[in-house]
């Protein structure tokens, strides 16, 4: 699930500071690694966004997490990755070999903190998927994105409605309808020709609606 939401940038950098880096560029939709692939690298998003997801045999998909600028992902303690991971948009990523991190007690401490943060986010998401209705899910999603993208006053969503739907366990039409309703009620504004830029007009109301 590898969300680094609650980890300070300092921490993020620290985990990997002493290792050598290689920068990579991925186009939207391109896979960074596949589920069960040998977990040789750890990654950090420099630009763009990444999703990690699991898929059932018949194609149903669950997005486990989005990794935004600064987030670290691909950290495994087993031999293989537990997810498929793909670029949500054109994305720049840097990566370090995993060996650089092992054996070092300090690094392990940081890994533990990162993993715990990911676990915490996953647990929060379990509650959302198990017990919240569509309105609450979308409201919580917008607040999450707002808190993770510091960018002034508006959220530039890097992902499609389909990505959001698969993250929230909803149909894409439902996501669209809820956003329309929030817009009509004046809680948010939806801007841009692709409807991907969102301004939160009434954060208090959105918090109420998210049922946290």
């Amino acid at each position: 699930m590898l969300v680094s939401q609650n980890v300070r940038p300092e921490d993020l950098a620290m985990v990997l500071e002493d290792t050598t880096w290689a920068a990579c560029r991925y186009q939207r939709g391109q896979s960074i690694y596949e589920e069960a692939e040998s977990a040789d690298y750890v990654y950090q998003v420099i630009e763009g966004a990444v999703r990690s997801c699991k898929t059932l045999a018949d194609g149903r998909r669950q997005v486990g997490a989005f990794h935004l600028v600064g987030d670290i992902f691909g950290l495994e303690s087993g031999q293989v990755y537990r997810f498929r991971t793909q670029a949500v948009d054109d994305t720049v990523i840097r990566r370090a070999t995993r060996q650089g991190l092992e054996g070092d007690a300090l690094a392990i401490n940081r890994m533990l903190r990162l993993t715990t943060a990911n676990l915490q986010q996953a647990e929060k998401h379990l509650l959302l998927l198990g017990r919240k209705n569509s309105g609450e899910r979308v409201a919580a999603f917008l607040l999450e994105m707002d808190s993770r993208m510091t960018e002034a006053r508006s959220i530039a969503l890097p992902m499609t409605r389909a990505d959001i739907a698969d993250y929230l366990g909803l149909a894409i039409e439902t996501v669209s309808r809820v956003l329309s309703t929030l817009h009509k009620e004046g809680v948010i504004s939806v801007l841009g020709s692709d409807h991907r830029r969102i301004v939160i007009r009434d954060k208090g109301r959105l918090s109420e609606l998210s049922a946290d």
Copy 2:
């Protein structure tokens, strides 16, 4: 989420082997600790079962995980517990102070492995809650319980239908109906006056139904 499903008993014991233990007894429904309480202890289930759960303001509940005999829970890297944790049934638990575990590189390594196992289980559960239907959820639950309780040939569920429902994100009636259907179709048998003992008659079929 602290499920220790994929961790061998050796590992479990090792995490805490060198520390002093205190045994405790809890009656069904009794809280072991509350959400946001100071995380002073780490626990292991000796007998019975434990659930950890989050609750929304209006009472909706999500059970994040069940901890069965041998499982370790309450391992936090922050200052406070992230869950309320309660005895599912009359339960015996032992606990160690948290200090005994910190500073020791070996212990931290084990904690990292445990936390990763918990994260992995949580991720699996996200897919279940986000994308599986009621039949698939119940089938997956039965298989999970089967793999975690080695007990010969039948599963003695320690939890109520309400607990199962809140774990699977379903209504209690739905859980009951799915179990009845599985029974009628000969996939399982449901035994005992309280209907808590289950025999898996056709594991292959159950695997298919679980859609993993």
